[in-house]
C-alpha cells in the first residue's frame, strides 16, 4: 500500500495544521464511543421514571438534571447517540449506495439512463426537502426504517450529482475507453475502474451529509414523526423540554439540544477536514 503514504502524510499535515479538525476527530471518537457503549456507560436507567425526582436541575447526581418524569437526562442523551447516529449513518449508507450507483450509471452510460436518473433527481428537488421527508414518513408510516429511507431519498440528488460529475470527467479522460479496448465489459469497467476513483469524493460527501442527516431525523422526531416517546432521542427530548423553557426549566431541552448541535457540528467540521485532505483545491 505504497499509494497510501502520501495521503496519510497529507492527512497528518491537515490535522496538525488545522487543530479544529483534530478537535472534531476527538469529538467524533467520543460520539462513537457513546453510540457503541452508551447503554452500559449510562449512570441511570434512561427509561426509569421517578416522579419524586421530576424536573431536578443539574447536580452531581444528575449531571444534566431530570425531566418531567424524573428520568436522568444525561443517561437519555447518552443512550440516544446510538439511535440518532445510527439513523443518520444508515441513511447515508443507503443513499451512498443508491445515489452513488445511479450517478455512476448515469455518467457512464449517458442516454436514457442519464435522463431517467436526472428526472428522478429533478422530481425530488421540486420539493422543499424537509417537507418531502415529512410526506414520505407520513405516507409510509411512522417507523425508524422509514425515517432512514426518507432521509436517504432527500439526499439522493446530491449524491447523484457528485458521482455523475466525477464519472463524466473520468470517462472523458479516456482511461475508461482504454479499459474497454482491453476487453473489459461495461459493468466491469464501471465497478473496477470508475468506482474506486470516485470513492474519495463520495466519502467526503458522506461525512458532509452526516450532520444534515442527524438534523433531519431529529427534526422529524421533534414534530412527532419518526421515533416515538419514551425512546430516548435528541429531537424528542428537545420537544419534550420545549414546554418547560417558558417556565424556566431550561435543562430539559438544553442538554439534548446542545448534544445534538455538537454532534452535527462535529460531523460538519470533520467533513470539511476530510475534504481538505481529499481535495485540497476546494478549500474555502
Amino acid at each position: 500500500m505504497k499509494g497510501l503514504a502520501a495521503p496519510l502524510r497529507h492527512a497528518r499535515f491537515v490535522v496538525t495544521e488545522n487543530p479544529v479538525t483534530g478537535f472534531a476527530l476527538a469529538l467524533f471518537i467520543l460520539f462513537i464511543v457513546a453510540a457503541v457503549f452508551g447503554p452500559s456507560l449510562a449512570p441511570h436507567d434512561p427509561l426509569a421514571s421517578n416522579t419524586a425526582q421530576a424536573l431536578q436541575p443539574p447536580s452531581g447526581q444528575y449531571w444534566f438534571g431530570t425531566d418531567q418524569l424524573g428520568r436522568d437526562i444525561f443517561s437519555r442523551a447518552l443512550v440516544a447517540a446510538r439511535l440518532d447516529i445510527g439513523i443518520a449513518a444508515a441513511s447515508v449508507a443507503l443513499v451512498f449506495a443508491m445515489g452513488g450507483f445511479a450517478g455512476l450509471a448515469s455518467g457512464f452510460f449517458g442516454g436514457w439512463t442519464d435522463a431517467l436518473v436526472g428526472r428522478l433527481s429533478d422530481t425530488i428537488m421540486a420539493f422543499p426537502l424537509f417537507v418531502l421527508a415529512m410526506a414520505i414518513v407520513a405516507a409510509l408510516g411512522n417507523t425508524v426504517p422509514n425515517i432512514v429511507l426518507a432521509t436517504a431519498i432527500i439526499n439522493f440528488p446530491l449524491y447523484v450529482r457528485v458521482a455523475r460529475a466525477e464519472t463524466t470527467t473520468r470517462r472523458d479522460a479516456g482511461f475508461v475507453d482504454a479499459a474497454r479496448v482491453a476487453g473489459h465489459r461495461d459493468m466491469g469497467v464501471l465497478l473496477g475502474q470508475v468506482m474506486p476513483n470516485i470513492m474519495p469524493l463520495m466519502v467526503v460527501q458522506m461525512s458532509l451529509t452526516m450532520g444534515y442527516a442527524i438534523l433531519n431525523a431529529a427534526g422529524l422526531s421533534f414534530i412527532g414523526l419518526g421515533v416515538r416517546p419514551p425512546t430516548p432521542e435528541w429531537g424528542i427530548m428537545v420537544a419534550e423540554g420545549a414546554s418547560f423553557i417558558v417556565s424556566g426549566e431550561w435543562w430539559v431541552a438544553l442538554f439534548p439540544g446542545a448534544t445534538l448541535m455538537v454532534a452535527v457540528f462535529c460531523f460538519n467540521l470533520l467533513g470539511d477536514g476530510l475534504r481538505d485532505i481529499v481535495d485540497p483545491r476546494r478549500r474555502t
Binding site: 428526472r119 429533478d122 422530481t123 428537488m125 421540486a126 420539493f127 422543499p128 426537502l129 424537509f130 417537507v131 418531502l132 421527508a133 415529512m134 410526506a135 414520505i136 407520513a138 405516507a139 409510509l140 408510516g141 450532520g211 444534515y212 438534523l215 431529529a218 427534526g219 421533534f222 414534530i223 412527532g224 414523526l225 429531537g235 428537545v238 420537544a239 423540554g241 420545549a242 423553557i245 417558558v246 417556565s247 424556566g248 431550561w250 431541552a253 438544553l254 439540544g257 446542545a258 445534538l260 448541535m261 452535527v264 457540528f265 460538519n268 467540521l269 470539511d272 474555502t284
Partner: protein, 336 residues
C-alpha cells in the same frame, strides 16, 4: 411577457412531478389513506365505506384522473380536525407562514450579504474569521433548538419579548384583512398598537429562521464576492480610477449577487422546511403547524394539502428567482 410564459411553461414538469408524487404518496403506497381519512378509531366497514366514498376502490388511473380533476376544482378534501375544507384552512393560514418566512429571509439576507462582502473584501481579517465561524456553526444549528434558546433568553430571562404563543398577544385583535400580513394590514389600518404587538411576536421566530438561513447565504456571498474581486474587469475598474464604492458596489457586488440569487433556491428549500419546525416552537398559526397538528391526529387530507402547497410555493419561488436572475443578468436574458 413571452419570456414569462416560457418560464411558466418551464416549471410545468416540476409541477407535474409534484402532483404525481403527492398522488403516489397518498394513494399508492402501503400507508393506507382511507385509514387516515377515517380517523384512528374507525371500524373496518366504515373504512371500506370511506374507501368507496373517496373512490379508493377504483383502478389507479381513474383515481389519478379524479384526483387531478379535484385539484383543478381546488378541492383538497376536508379536514377532520377543523371540519373545514382543507383549501379554506390553508388559505387562511398561508399568510402567517409567508410573513414569517419572508421576514426570516430578510433578516438572513440583511446580515449575511454585508457580512459575506466584508469577509471577502477584508479576506483573512477579523470579519472573515467571524464569518467563517458563523457559517460553520450556522449549518449545525438545529433550528427548533435555537428557537427555544432564544425564547429562554429573551422571554424568560430578559422579558424583552412576549411569550411564544402565536402572531398577536392575547389583548390585541387582528387588523382588518387586506394582505393577511399583520405588519402590513395593521399599518394600512393605522393600528400601531396592533402593529407593535405583531412585530414583537414576529421578532424571535423570524430571527430563528434568519439565523438558520444566514449561513448558506453568507458563505456563497463571500465565495462569489472573492471570485469577482479577483476578476479582470475589477482590475479594469480600478485602473480606470473609479471610486472604491463604485468598484465594490456597482462593479463587484452586482456581479457577485448573481450566484447568491441562484442559491436562494436552495435556501428556500431549507427555509420552507425549517418553517415547519419554527412554527411548532412558537405556536405560529401557519400551514406548518396546521400540518403538524394534522399529522398527530392522523388527519390525511390536510397533510397532503400542505405538502402540495409547499411544493407549489417552492416551484413558484424558483420561478421568481429565475426571473430575477434574468432581469439582472443580460447573458441569461439573451442567452436562450
Amino acid at each position: 411577457m413571452a419570456g414569462l410564459l416560457l418560464r411558466l411553461a418551464g416549471s410545468l414538469p416540476a409541477l407535474a412531478a409534484v402532483i404525481v408524487v403527492t398522488f403516489v404518496l397518498t394513494r399508492v403506497l402501503p400507508g393506507d389513506a382511507a385509514t387516515y381519512f377515517a380517523g384512528p378509531t374507525a371500524s373496518a366497514e366504515s373504512i371500506a365505506q370511506i374507501k368507496a366514498m373517496l373512490g379508493l376502490d377504483r383502478p389507479l388511473p381513474e383515481q389519478f384522473w379524479n384526483y387531478i380533476v379535484a385539484l383543478f376544482h381546488g378541492n383538497l378534501g376536508m379536514s377532520l380536525t377543523t371540519g373545514q375544507p382543507v383549501l379554506t384552512d390553508l388559505a387562511a393560514r398561508l399568510p402567517a407562514s409567508a410573513e414569517l418566512t419572508l421576514c426570516g429571509l430578510f433578516v438572513a439576507i440583511g446580515i449575511a450579504v454585508p457580512l459575506g462582502i466584508a469577509a471577502a473584501v477584508r479576506q483573512g481579517k477579523m470579519v472573515d474569521h467571524v464569518c467563517r465561524v458563523l457559517v460553520t456553526a450556522g449549518v449545525s444549528l438545529p433550528v427548533f433548538f435555537t428557537g427555544l434558546l432564544l425564547v429562554y433568553v429573551f422571554y424568560f430571562r430578559l422579558s424583552w419579548l412576549p411569550a411564544p404563543l402565536g402572531r398577536l398577544d392575547a389583548f390585541a385583535s387582528p387588523p382588518p384583512t387586506v394582505t393577511g400580513f399583520f405588519l402590513i394590514d395593521a399599518a394600512i389600518a393605522g393600528e400601531w398598537e396592533t402593529w407593535r404587538s405583531a412585530a414583537a411576536q414576529l421578532i424571535l421566530p423570524a430571527a430563528t429562521l434568519g439565523l438558520f438561513a444566514l449561513a448558506p447565504i453568507a458563505r456563497i456571498t463571500r465565495a462569489s464576492m472573492l471570485a469577482v474581486l479577483g476578476a479582470e474587469f475589477i482590475r479594469t475598474a480600478r485602473a480606470s480610477g473609479l471610486s472604491g464604492v463604485t468598484v465594490i458596489i456597482t462593479y463587484a457586488l452586482r456581479n457577485a449577487l448573481l450566484p447568491v440569487i441562484t442559491t436562494l433556491g436552495m435556501v428556500f428549500s431549507f427555509l420552507l422546511g425549517a418553517n415547519v419546525l419554527v412554527e411548532k416552537v412558537f405556536a405560529w398559526p401557519g400551514i406548518g403547524s396546521y400540518a403538524v397538528e394534522a399529522l398527530i391526529a392522523s388527519d390525511g387530507a390536510p397533510v397532503q394539502g400542505f405538502v402540495l402547497t409547499m411544493a407549489i410555493l417552492y416551484v413558484l419561488l424558483n420561478l421568481t428567482i429565475d426571473m430575477v436572475n434574468r432581469a439582472l443578468d443580460p447573458r441569461a436574458r439573451r442567452g436562450s
